[in-house]
């Protein structure tokens, strides 16, 4: 153990003498700071736009005149999705998903207006965020400083000298790993912590346990990720005859893990679990609707039965004799059917996406980049889980609002001369408007068991493999 610390300390000295390492470290630290600044700044900007228009929409809702409830159902509500507190750190899917959804009766609109739709092709090269730097560039940095950690000693013959002095290969490997890892982590984890703290101060979120738990887990996750990269660098270096070979091998690994596999895994996922296009999605719902009951079809069987049942319930002969407004009553039934159908199909769609992404989840066991990507996004609140949570909650609000308005329509509007009537706007003013409750950390990561297990597996692999692998390394 003492020797490990000694070697690790010596590694620090080597790193500080390495001009390339020092320059790159400064470059990366400033890049991280730039990314943090740009991230926080654009999150503030985007959220201020969304809040501004959300307030306008709210005021417009409150100020509406007396209206027919079904008018209000079509007037609906506009909900804007705010960026999460940590989206400045990891953009995740933020840019690729919509930000505004129109919630009206009868229709489940898509969440529209994504940044990606308003961007040109350069977007696909990536966006500079702290997560991009930490996930893709820092490993390269580790490889640049680690590729000759052992192979360099082999090349100049020092390795034999060290080993003959009674230092075991195992101790040497641990020492090298500890040295590089502590050097890297000290810098980058500190920059991360500083960015998180600044962000918390700017966003005025101090004693938010959910946020703190997320930050803690993110720091832990990235520490494990850096350790994995260090382990890979030192091991590849130990098994290479020449530093050059180690460098080439590490670059190839980086390329495959960071660039090729993420793209290929999605293509494979989409191939195995195809998902429907919007056209097919709508067609399927329409077909199911014609089977269950279409309130817009005058000859529909379900609605004929529904009317007979209603008449029986109120013990009357015709719709005109009903004490309630049948138009509103039947609309509520229609809304119930279409919403149930939509939810079933939508859940199926989301499941197909999750299945597609499961390929990347399983690949986390052999690809630490996918492991860190799959866990960093949910922790930062910028993954699919958070996005669909917003969509689900918005849909629930839409449904409840439509049904509440149908109820007013049924009870407060007279059947005769239906369309010309209005109800007092006090009804609407007292209704609570849409307010999104952010997803908590526990439900957000409960579906990330596979990448979490992969994270654990990497930790165990590192701890267990050094002893075994050290015996296989040749000193020449």
């Amino acid at each position: 153990m003492k020797d490990v610390v000694k070697i690790a300390r010596h590694e620090w000295v080597i790193l500080q003498r390495n001009r390339v390492a020092v320059v790159l470290l400064l470059v990366f630290t400033s890049l991280l700071l730039i990314a943090a600044y740009v991230g926080i700044d654009s999150t503030l900007q985007q959220n201020s736009f969304r809040r501004e228009y959300q307030d306008i929409v709210k005021t417009q809702w409150m100020d509406q005149p007396d209206r027919h409830p079904h008018r209000v159902a079509h007037y609906g509500y506009l909900a804007f999705r705010e960026k999460s507190l940590l989206s400045f750190f990891d953009f995740g899917i933020e840019t690729f998903v919509g930000n505004a959804v129109f919630l009206e009766a009868h229709r489940q609109n898509t969440i529209n207006l994504s940044e990606a739709g308003f961007s040109n092709g350069i977007l696909r090269f990536g966006e500079l965020s702290m997560a991009l730097i930490l996930q893709l560039l820092v490993p390269l940095f580790i490889f640049f400083v680690g590729y000759d950690s052992v192979s360099g000693l082999k090349q100049n013959g020092i390795l034999k000298v060290i080993l003959s002095q009674g230092v075991s290969m195992r101790t040497l490997l641990w020492g090298k790993m500890m040295g590089i890892f502590s050097y890297i982590s000290l810098f980058f984890l500190f920059v991360m912590l500083a960015a998180f703290t600044t962000n918390a101060i700017i966003m005025q979120h101090f004693l938010d346990w959910d946020l703190m738990a997320r930050i803690f887990l993110i720091l832990l996750l990235y520490a494990i990720y850096f350790a994995t990269c260090t382990w890979a660098a030192v091991m590849v270096s130990a098994f290479s005859k020449k530093p050059g070979n180690a460098l080439v091998a590490l670059i190839v690994i980086w390329m495959i893990c960071g660039v090729i596999l993420p793209k290929v895994s999605q293509t494979v996922g989409t191939g195995i679990y195809p998902s429907v296009s919007k056209l097919e999605f709508e067609k399927e719902i329409e077909e199911d609707l014609s089977k269950v009951g279409d309130s817009h079809n005058p000859d529909d069987q379900h609605f004929a039965a529904f009317r007979a049942e209603t008449l029986k319930k109120y013990n009357v002969e015709t719709v005109d004799e009903l004490p309630i407004n049948y138009a509103g009553y039947v609309m509520a039934e229609g809304e119930r059917i279409t919403s149930t159908l939509f939810n079933t199909h939508f859940d199926r769609l989301v499941t197909s996406y999750k299945n597609q992404n499961s390929i990347a989840s399983y690949l986390s066991f052999i690809n630490p980049y996918l492991m860190v990507r799959n866990l960093s996004m949910p922790l930062s609140g910028t993954d699919m889980e958070h996005y669909f949570d917003f969509q689900k909650k918005a849909e629930t609000f839409r449904y409840n609002q439509a049904q509440w308005l149908n109820e007013i329509h049924t009870n407060e509007i007279q059947r005769v001369n239906d369309k010309a009537q209005r109800v007092s706007n006090s009804y609407f003013k007292n209704q609570e408007v849409f307010h999104y409750q952010k997803l908590k950390i526990a439900p957000a990561i409960k579906n990330q068991i596979i990448p979490a297990l992969a994270c654990l597996a990497w930790l165990l692999l590192m701890a267990a493999s050094v002893g075994y692998l050290s015996k296989q390394v040749s000193a020449l």
Binding site: L24, Q45, F49, R71, N120, L123, F125, L247, I260, N357
Partner: protein, 425 residues
């Protein structure tokens, strides 16, 4: 002298061909290239297949609505009927998928206010969008430089390190000529690999052999030359192999990852688009407030634009479709300003990224490829504008029947305006 150079080239080629790592690099590159060609084709074929369903969906819907609303005036049917549009991919779309996987290509519109219908998104897995496409343009732009670096970073330093260079230097030949020769052999080999992939792409994507192909091939070759120049510059600094590798990879990282990703966040930050939110909010409010206004006031802007209908009287005390669709028209007119500001912003974003592209070769290539393949933002904006124009032609086609309160069967459905993509060229 001639014979000597000839022999040197032969020797160098032999050495190059015998290197196992070279073959490994080349075969991996070709395999990824072929995969990319296949991926591009599969992605665009899937889009074509969806586009092929559009006509049937449209006519089936129309048929259903014609039976359901046969006894009602045309305005009722038009409330439910969607009219589909198509943005058909070009032959080159599979080579450079660009933004085609993000943007919708089968937008459908009703005769309601168009601003609320333009930005409906396609249903796609966001993680797939985030991961991006591995198409052939990506292979050339992103991976080709890495192969160049891998093949060349140590051609001088390795020989210096092994002592061969000292021996070569003692011979009566110009050292730079030997270096040129070494680079030339690799350049020719890489050009052959690129040519192979292009031949495969022409066959598999059924690319027409025309000016576009010439431009694309020329650009890829120019890009290859650019990277050879970078390599030449770095290796003549005569550092060790390892320093060369790190320097070259850092330049690759700088050009391919850092500059583009930084540009993205800066462009989005400098040209934010609150106008998109404004358009949505304005259009919704403008339409709905009309319900609570006197009908004569609501009709004013419509009659001003379409005086030919101003002799129709609009009943003040009840619903009429002439009034209903005039409200839709008014909502679009009121949102027109923020909508055109939105398009201006999109143009600014497009200009900004083009401008950066003039300085960064890889961005220039990507922009040009997307432009040739018509998979860029410009094409999408042209599509959106065309959908707007189509919506207007549809509305103008139906206005006479709406005001006349015609029944659906009296309309000559064969004369329905057809969607056309209007591009600026």
């Amino acid at each position: 002298m001639m014979i000597k150079w000839h022999r040197l080239i032969k020797l160098e080629s032999k050495q190059f061909v015998r290197n196992r790592l070279t073959w490994l690099g080349f075969s991996v590159f070709i395999v990824i290239g072929l995969y990319a060609i296949w991926h591009g084709k599969a992605t665009i074929d899937k889009q074509r297949q969806i586009i092929a369903q559009v006509d049937k969906a449209q006519s089936e819907q129309l048929e259903t609505h014609l039976t359901h609303h046969a006894d009602h005036e045309i305005g009722a049917l038009l409330y439910y009927q969607f009219f589909y549009t198509k943005n058909i991919p070009t032959d080159w779309a599979g080579f450079s998928i660009g933004q085609r996987d993000i943007n919708p290509y089968t937008l459908k519109v009703r005769m309601l206010a168009v601003e609320g219908q333009l930005y409906d998104t396609e249903l796609t897995n966001p993680i797939t969008l985030l991961s991006g496409n591995l198409d052939l343009s990506f292979v050339f732009i992103f991976l080709l430089p890495l192969l160049v670096i891998a093949l060349t970073f140590n051609i001088l330093s390795a020989e210096q390190e092994s002592g061969v260079w000292a021996f070569v230097a003692s011979q009566p030949v110009a050292l730079y000529k030997v270096l040129y020769l070494k680079l030339c052999v690799k350049f020719i080999a890489l050009s052959l690999v690129i040519a192979t992939l292009f031949v495969a792409a022409v066959i598999i994507h059924k690319l027409p052999v025309d000016m576009r192909l010439v431009v694309v091939v020329a650009l890829v070759l120019a890009y290859l030359i650019f990277w050879f120049m970078v390599v030449f510059l770095v290796i003549t600094l005569k550092n060790s192999s390892n320093i060369n590798a790190v320097t070259l990879l850092s330049s690759w990282l700088f050009l391919l990852v850092l500059i583009p990703s930084l540009s993205n966040v800066i462009i989005i930050r400098l040209f934010p688009i609150p106008e998109a939110l404004a358009t949505t909010v304005t259009q919704r409010e403008a339409y709905h407030e009309k319900w609570d206004m006197p009908k004569s006031v609501v009709m004013e802007p419509f009659f001003a634009s379409y005086p030919q209908y101003s002799h129709y009287s609009i009943p003040e005390d009840r619903f009429s479709y002439g009034w209903y669709y005039a409200m839709m028209f008014a909502a679009d007119s009121e949102a027109a300003r923020s909508a055109s500001e939105l398009f201006d912003k999109l143009e600014k974003r497009q200009h900004a990224s083009q401008w950066i592209g003039y300085f960064i070769p890889n961005l220039f290539l990507q922009n040009t490829f997307n432009k040739i393949a018509k998979t860029d933002l410009e094409n999408h904006v042209a599509y959106l504008k065309s959908v707007k124009a189509f919506h207007r032609r549809l509305s103008e086609f139906f206005y006479p029947s709406i005001f006349e309160m015609d029944l659906p069967h009296t309309i000559n459905w064969d004369e329905l305006p057809e969607f056309q993509l209007i591009t600026t060229e």
